[in-house]
């Protein structure tokens, strides 16, 4: 049998990769995809604990995380579209009007 730590290590590695993507890339759409990657790795942790502890609450929470991710995808991509319409670019360094 696979111990739970292998699932948790996989999840940690994927979360770190997503985090590195958010910190290094400057394309808003790629950053958006990296956030999806991080959400997914956390889902894996929830499902792993749910299966090992025999408790269905973890899988229900994954369902809600997916609902939030879908809402975030719709609104986030609409913001990227509005941004591109105004700035003609998806480089996040061009989006600094709120920067002091």
């Amino acid at each position: 049998m696979i111990p739970i730590s292998h699932y948790l290590i996989l999840s940690a590695v994927m979360f770190t990769i997503g985090c590195a993507g958010v910190l290094t890339r400057r394309n808003a759409i790629i950053i958006f995809m990296c956030i999806e990657l991080m959400l997914n790795s956390v889902n894996l942790t929830f499902v792993a604990f749910s299966a090992y502890l025999g408790d269905s609450a973890g899988q229900i929470i994954v369902f809600f995380v997916m609902a939030v991710a879908a809402a975030e995808a719709a609104v986030g991509l609409a913001i990227v579209l509005a941004l591109f319409r105004n700035k003609k670019s998806v480089d996040i360094n061009d989006v600094n009007i709120l920067k002091w």
Partner: protein, 170 residues
């Protein structure tokens, strides 16, 4: 080594490699396609945990709906200057990976605490709790209020997306 164990390690490797490709490809279209590979690999890993409902939802919602939306936006924007967006080196491209490695060390230190007891093997209950019947029964009894709130959230997101993406921004 059982078939399940081999399947887990193969899918884990596929997941990590495709995740690395997502953050290193210059073309956002290639990154999106590798992200789909990553989602499908994760769906397979959910199946090794007997979570059928989550695996199906992963393919339908993530690899289906969300990635279609992302690909649609990438094609709609038709980015040509992505090349020099990636070329410019700055302090971000060095500090980002270093900070992420520190985060990984922290996470792995936390994982080291989780072992023994019921954490060595999958609970025999897991084959029952992962089914669509059980998840649906739980959603409509114990979790009915959060479930209804999720529908409100999706409605609000839908209205917000339509307003934001409209041609004339108010």
């Amino acid at each position: 080594m059982t078939f399940e164990t081999i399947l887990f390690y193969v899918l884990a490797l596929a997941g990590i490699v495709s995740a690395l490709l997502v953050i290193t490809r210059r073309n956002p279209m290639h990154a999106a396609l590798f992200l789909i590979v990553n989602f499908v690999a994760l769906a397979g890993i959910y199946l090794t945990l007997h979570a059928q409902f989550v695996a199906i939802t992963q393919v339908l919602v993530y690899a289906g709906a969300i990635m279609v939306l992302v690909l649609f936006v990438i094609m709609l924007l038709n980015l040509q200057n992505e090349q020099d967006l990636f070329e410019k080196r700055s302090w971000r491209s060095y500090s980002g990976p270093i900070l992420s490695l520190l985060l990984l060390a922290l996470l792995l230190r936390t994982v080291a605490f989780v072992s023994g007891g019921s954490f060595d093997r999958i609970s025999p209950e897991s084959e029952r709790i992962g089914t669509v019947a059980n998840i649906g029964q739980q959603l409509f009894t114990a979790f009915v209020f959060p479930f209804e709130m999720a529908s409100l959230l999706l409605l609000a997101a839908m209205v917000g997306a339509v307003i934001l993406a409209k041609k004339r921004f108010p």
